[in-house]
């Protein structure tokens, strides 16, 4: 694994769009070439080297390239966008769209991320040591095809609208979440170790949600069926099992009606 380190030296006055900070784009380039890559501040186009100190050459392939991002990147968007392989470590906190549209590889953020992280994720791994913002692992506006593969692990709290239109993959939030969990989901798995507020599983067609903590207000479209014991995200526990959203359309599989599943720890 070859490592390229980029260290923020010139915090932008506005925000920086760093869609070129990705192992796929860095692959095959030297530090000098990487420093020449474009970044965008508003309607101006600058070079990565104008804002970051760049050291280290990338490997020939994305899979063998690791990027370490140092310094204050709280105003940098799109880190790891569309990456397919390789690794990124952000030592601090980043702004919006971390790992958006990623299909592979691994991103670790030691701090927090803002909205739209892992939009429409298709594979790979995203680890947030701190908190995530709204729309984590959600679909892009208007698209009924959301996160379909990959894993997300947030060690802190997450915002609202996580996993919207999810069709596959897995998301684990160690802390609490805001409203609207897995809205319109048609697959996938969301595990919340902390507490949820309300609007959990609204309009869900399929998929599984596990809440270890409390839900302030249950959706009326979820009906209790039984209590089960399951091992989830490394913890074995008893869960009240609800099916829903009863109000939504339902698919059938082999003649049986399919529902989404909501499990709340007993």
């Amino acid at each position: 694994m070859e490592t390229v380190t980029i260290k923020m030296k010139n915090v932008p006055a506005l925000y920086l769009e760093a869609d070129n900070v990705s192992p796929d784009i860095f692959a095959g380039k030297t530090a000098t070439q990487i420093a020449d890559l474009h970044v965008y501040e508003g309607n101006t186009t600058g070079k990565l080297g104008d804002y970051f100190e760049v050291s280290g050459n990338a490997a020939a392939t994305a899979a063998d390239t690791k990027i370490v991002v140092k310094g204050d990147v709280t105003r940098v968007k799109y880190i790891g966008m569309k990456m397919s392989a390789g690794e990124i470590v952000v030592e601090g906190s980043a702004d919006q769209y971390v790992g958006a549209w990623m299909t592979g590889g691994k991103i670790t953020v030691n701090g927090n991320v803002q909205a739209f992280a892992a939009t429409a994720m298709r594979g790979g791994e995203l680890v947030i040591e701190g908190n995530a913002g709204n729309y984590l692992g959600a679909a892009y506006r208007g698209d009924w095809r959301g996160m379909s593969k990959g894993t997300i692990h947030v060690k802190g709290n997450a915002g609202s609208d996580i996993g919207m239109y999810m069709t596959g993959g897995e998301m684990v939030i160690d802390g609490n979440v805001d409203v609207h969990v897995a809205t319109h989901a048609e697959g996938g798995r969301v595990v919340i170790k902390g507490n949820a507020k309300s609007k959990v599983g609204g309009q869900m067609v399929d998929g599984n949600i596990f809440i270890f903590g409390t839900i302030d207000i249950m959706m009326p479209g979820f009906k209790y069926v039984d209590t089960v014991e399951q091992e989830v995200a490394g913890v074995k526990a008893k869960f009240a099992h609800f099916i829903g959203d009863i109000g939504e359309r339902h698919k059938t599989k082999k003649g049986q009606v399919v529902y989404g599943n909501l499990y709340t720890r007993v």
Partner: protein, 569 residues
């Protein structure tokens, strides 16, 4: 004004019967002329194909349901936008392009005239605003009449003259071009959640059948002598077995004669015929009836059709056949938008993915091509995709490739997951015909222009016509090694002239031209009854006033071109 001479190109012009001969085309003051002076700018068309600008007879490119499609599909623009560059404003939209992109993309393919297929009259200002903002190409729009309260009431009483007077009034009020009929009667039934699936199903309350509406509108159209014929999207679109409804619809025109001063020879134009050529009685035994439909079309010369080819893309369906769209969302569960328009019509929008892995989609693809391949008279069978319903119009070059190359068709057939079903349920496998360039010229230029009544100005390269001329990078004397070369050539023209102004050069926009809005100004005898009925309906039932209904000039139709019709007696 500028003079040009396009030299040494291989000209294909069905209007003059030129089948690839090397011929110079001269342009002066916006028109094709016999000759030009020596100071004319020379365009070298050696080893290239020269045709008139293409004419789009049916596409959904301007108006409220098109824009509803844009608004509700941000994902249609994700990662596919084109930036501002050169002469071009920025553009976006894979299946529903923005207006600037629409104009540029048509022009780059050599299209110079396009018809917006369905204009809800109450929204005519919106249609015209979008037409105004679509650069380069001349456009017209078809107001819809088949579910209109005035039309249904008059035709129930057999009042053809009153219907004609209303049509003339509405064409003027909306700056419309032709009599469009969509799912006659069925869309009014849809305002109550119902439909008319056969030509004999009576419309709730109005108690008139689609057959009566169709017949009456043909008669009114011929009474007026309009440039285009009645243009119809028949009942029962999209359902297995619907070819019988299509034949029932076509038979209504039997024995009816066209009457007009524009060279039009048909009394009915049947649109996106692919969607109306289905056999079987379920999706399981779904099959092609393209042969049956084209047998009828081939024998009945007072009808023109367009194909509605499926292009195997993710696209967006949008149509005034409101109940069909509701049915479609029930099938694919994708987002459904609907607008019922008071007294007039409705519209529905639903995204659709024509996946090559789904046998029904593959069969639909085959049906669209079969229709053109069965057509005996290319001057009566035109190429469309009912954009964006069966696919984006930017795929026309691909459709042309499939029609001109059996090898290209085979490559696609072999790529289908359910190839065996395509071969068993359609006749595409056995069809060897390869449409020629001359026939393509008929199907995309001369034919549609004649059907629309526009032969005086476009669709051909005869001196006196507008100088809408296209040069393609395709050498008709060289056999095509790779069929993809056909698609490439038709995607980006070497030169496009619109009304004598060079608008595209080497596939890039070099001028926005001076587009016109084509509309039909029909004069009829004074008709106090109809005027009174109009006033009464505005007072009682419309939600706008009569004086606020008409799309007046200024910003809506900045450069009008009216085709005048005198239907007074």
């Amino acid at each position: 004004m500028s003079e040009y001479i396009i030299k040494n190109g291989h000209v294909f012009d069905p209007v003059q019967g030129i089948k690839g001969d090397k011929k110079d085309i001269s342009i002066k003051d916006g028109k094709i002329v016999d000759k030009v002076s020596s100071s004319a700018k020379v365009i070298d068309a050696r080893d290239k194909t020269v045709m008139a600008g293409a004419v789009e007879i049916h596409a959904h490119i301007a108006g409220p349901k098109v824009n509803l499609g844009r608004i509700y599909r941000p994902e249609d623009k994700l990662f596919s936008c084109t930036p501002t560059h050169g002469m071009e404003r920025m553009g976006g939209g894979a299946s529903i392009p923005t207006t600037f992109k629409t104009g540029y993309e048509y022009a780059k393919m050599g299209y110079t005239t396009a018809m917006e297929a369905a204009m809800p009259p109450l929204f005519s200002r919106h249609v015209h605003e979008e037409i105004r903002d679509t650069p380069i190409i001349d456009e017209g729009a078809f107001p819809v009449f088949g579910n209109n309260w005035f039309v249904m009431e008059y035709l129930k009483n057999g009042e053809v003259e009153n219907t004609a007077a209303y049509i003339a009034w509405l064409l003027r009020a909306t700056k419309g071009y032709a009599v469009k009929v969509v799912n006659p009667g069925g869309t009014e039934a849809w305002h109550w959640g119902l439909n008319c699936l056969s030509v004999n199903d009576p419309v709730p309350y109005f108690d008139i059948t689609p057959a009566e509406i169709i017949k009456g509108l043909i008669e009114a159209n011929e009474y007026l002598g309009l440039p285009h014929s009645m243009h119809i999207h028949p009942n029962n679109l999209g359902n297995p077995g619907n070819y019988t409804t299509t034949l029932d619809t076509l038979k209504i025109a039997q024995g009816m004669q066209p009457k007009n001063k524009f060279g039009r020879e048909q009394v009915m134009h049947l649109t996106h015929t692919q969607f109306h050529s289905y056999g079987g009685d379920s999706w399981g035994n779904f099959e092609s009836k393209a042969k049956e439909v084209m047998d009828y079309i081939n024998k009945n010369k007072n009808i023109t059709v367009d194909t509605g080819n499926v292009t195997l893309d993710e696209t967006t369906t949008m149509t005034a056949d409101g109940p069909f769209e509701h049915h479609l969302t029930g099938l694919n569960h994708l987002k459904w938008a609907n607008v019922d328009v008071e007294l007039e019509t409705a519209a529905g929008v639903v995204p659709y993915i024509y996946s090559p892995n789904i046998s029904v989609c593959a069969i639909q693809w085959a049906i669209g091509l079969e229709l053109a391949l069965y057509a005996k008279d290319p001057m009566r069978c035109f190429i469309t995709t009912d954009h964006p319903n069966a696919g984006p119009f930017t795929r026309y070059p691909r459709v042309i490739k499939w029609l001109m190359s059996k090898k290209a068709r085979e490559t696609q057939i072999n790529a289908f997951k359910h190839k065996d079903k395509v071969l068993s349920q359609t006749g595409i496998g056995a069809m060897d015909r390869e449409i020629s360039l001359y026939e393509i010229a008929a199907m995309t230029r001369a034919g549609p222009a004649r059907s629309l009544g526009l032969t005086a100005i476009c669709g051909g390269l005869k001196p006196g016509m507008d100088a809408d001329v296209v040069v393609y990078n395709l050498n008709p004397e060289k056999p095509v090694g790779n069929p993809d070369q056909i698609e490439t050539a038709f995607s980006r023209a070497a030169h496009v002239f619109k009304s004598g102004v060079e608008v595209v050069k080497d596939g890039e926009i070099v001028s926005s031209g001076n587009k016109r809005t084509l509309w039909v100004n029909a004069k009829v005898n004074d008709n106090p009854q109809v005027m009174r009925d109009i006033t009464e309906k505005f007072l009682k039932y419309y939600s706008v006033t009569q004086n606020n209904y008409e799309a007046l000039g200024h910003t809506f139709v900045p450069n009008p071109y009216a085709l005048d019709v005198d239907a007074t007696t």
